[in-house]
Amino acid sequence: MVDASVARRLVDEMIFNLPKHDPGQRPVHTIGVGVDAYFTASDVAHKYCIAEHFSGERICAKVRFSNAPGGPEQHDGRSDVRGMATRFLLPSGAATDLIATTLREFFARDVDDFSKFTKLDKHEPYQRESPWRKILDLLWLKVPRRDPYPGEKTNASAGILSYANQHRFAQLAVFEAKMIGAPVSYVRAAYHAIHTFIVEGENGVRRPVRFSWQPVAGVRNTDPDALPDDDYLRQELDHRLKRWPVRFVLMMTIGEAGDAIDDPTRPWPARRVRVIMGTLTLTGVPKDQATAGERISFNPWRLVRGIEPSGDPILRARRDAYEVSRKMRGGTACPFSNWSCADGE
């Protein structure tokens, strides 16, 4: 386990990098929307995982979609990572969380990498490249740097690129983040929980797995050349859900001996067995967003019998970092929680 001072340092480093920060808000994934939902496991899910939400009963769920950057500024239309945090409220009174992003891999293998990355992940002035520089790029068969978005005076892309140039393990996540685009809707993107978890099946067999949400509506991004709209994702979701519920399928990929279990920077081959674990149905955007979207606090370690964390050092670090952050911003401790940071588990 990382000690509490490390968790605090990680959160402080994230806050330090923000051009603006409201202490009552999350230091990352600040802008988001809470959604009501329910989950129904597939008929095979319980064979692979004995956790309560895979029993087949209809499970009440709370979801929060978010834009990954920290800070109060909202830029829905900018190309960036999105988050989808899901809480399953189990019939036994316990709860479990699954936190995912549109990024498939992470850029750091451990806390040390993460700190080094955060040091470079600083906002710097960002200007339009001169046309001559762009011509030079084209002659070098490079893609010219994108023009700043309207109002974009700073960003962290230079620092992130220099980190990736020095660290091959970070390159995949950085590439993917750079090419990720902006979804036309929070529900038109696929989300990945990145880390490996160990699930226990009915017959006691333990398997390393990775989870992803696949949108039934399909993946679709906005036109990258159009002027981005700063504020559309919440209304889009609200309007959509007023007309019809929306579904996501939970896919679980089973790892094999030799796959990266404890390293979130490394993907697994596409040939691994994939199991459909169930369907999440989103039903509506509650009016009280202070509770559903702001105070609610997720933690990747809020797990129940049948699912365990792997030894991934990033996953380990997140446990206390999320709790520290929750306390700092006055977030609600999970009322259904079967786990709390103070337990020192």
Binding site: G258, A270, V273
Partner: protein
């Protein structure tokens, strides 16, 4: 994107996003050859990568592109290729049944190439060896129409040469991630560096362009599979189709 662009900004942005034919021509026929000369790129080998994990040893792809001989690059030559497959259909199907590790196989004519695309389990060499042992005779009719094929006939007696030839005509499989593609290039150049390195990721577009010059035909990604991780034998057993 913003509207404080000068005419030159707009011109250059357009050149990049919607290039005029002259600029495309300039890129393809002048810039690319210059860079290919200045920063030569080796041809990446084809076929599935060697694997030890069970999941990587099932449902591998073979994308075999066999260019027809010059004299067969015509509708008549293509018809001969089509006939060679049609006439040997029974042998080919019986052979593939006997190999027992092939999920799907199909023959396709694209321009003046006869192609065989398949998904197979296990080792590539064993697949081709089994295949050629059982249908070598039928395959001679195909091979005699393609470039370099004469040296292999009779295929069933030139097994090692045939395997090598197939391997050389099997497409490079561009990995699923851009970084694995870069790692393939680095491996080929003997670059085993680990962090900290001094890469320039902005060069990826050029590296890709030059690689696609060296490997004009490639297979994109490792492909979609509806039921990944299962062998032919497992699927047939589960479906109770017998063997």
């Amino acid at each position: 994107m913003a509207n404080d662009e000068s005419w030159l900004d707009r011109f250059v942005n357009k050149l990049h996003k919607k290039p005029k034919p002259w600029f495309k021509y300039f890129g393809a026929y002048i810039l690319v050859p210059i860079w290919a000369r200045l920063t030569p790129v080796k041809r990446l080998p084809g076929g599935a990568r060697p694997a030890i994990q069970p999941g990587d040893n099932v449902q591998s792809m073979m994308n075999l592109i066999m260019p027809l001989k010059r004299e067969n690059r015509s509708p008549i030559g293509r018809a001969k290729a089509a006939l060679a497959i049609a006439e040997n259909r029974d042998q080919i199907f019986a052979g593939l049944d006997n190999v027992g590790t092939v999920h799907f196989a199909r023959f396709v004519i694209v321009n003046d190439n006869i192609c065989m695309f398949s998904f197979y389990d296990g080792d590539f060499t064993n697949y081709i060896r089994d295949f050629i042992a059982t249908i070598g005779g039928a395959f001679n009719d195909v091979v005699k129409l393609v470039e370099g094929g004469d040296a292999l006939i009779p295929c069933e007696e030139n097994v090692e040469a045939f395997i090598q030839w197939i391997h050389e005509h099997d497409l490079y499989q561009v990995p699923d991630t851009p970084t694995d593609f870069l790692r393939d290039q680095e491996d080929l150049n003997g670059d085993k560096a680990v962090s900290p390195v001094n890469d320039d990721l902005t060069l990826l577009p050029r590296k890709l362009v030059l690689q696609l010059r060296a490997n004009a035909n490639v297979s994109l990604g490792s492909g979609y599979r509806a039921y990944p991780g299962f062998s032919v034998a497992q699927v047939r057993k589960k479906l109770e189709l017998g063997w």
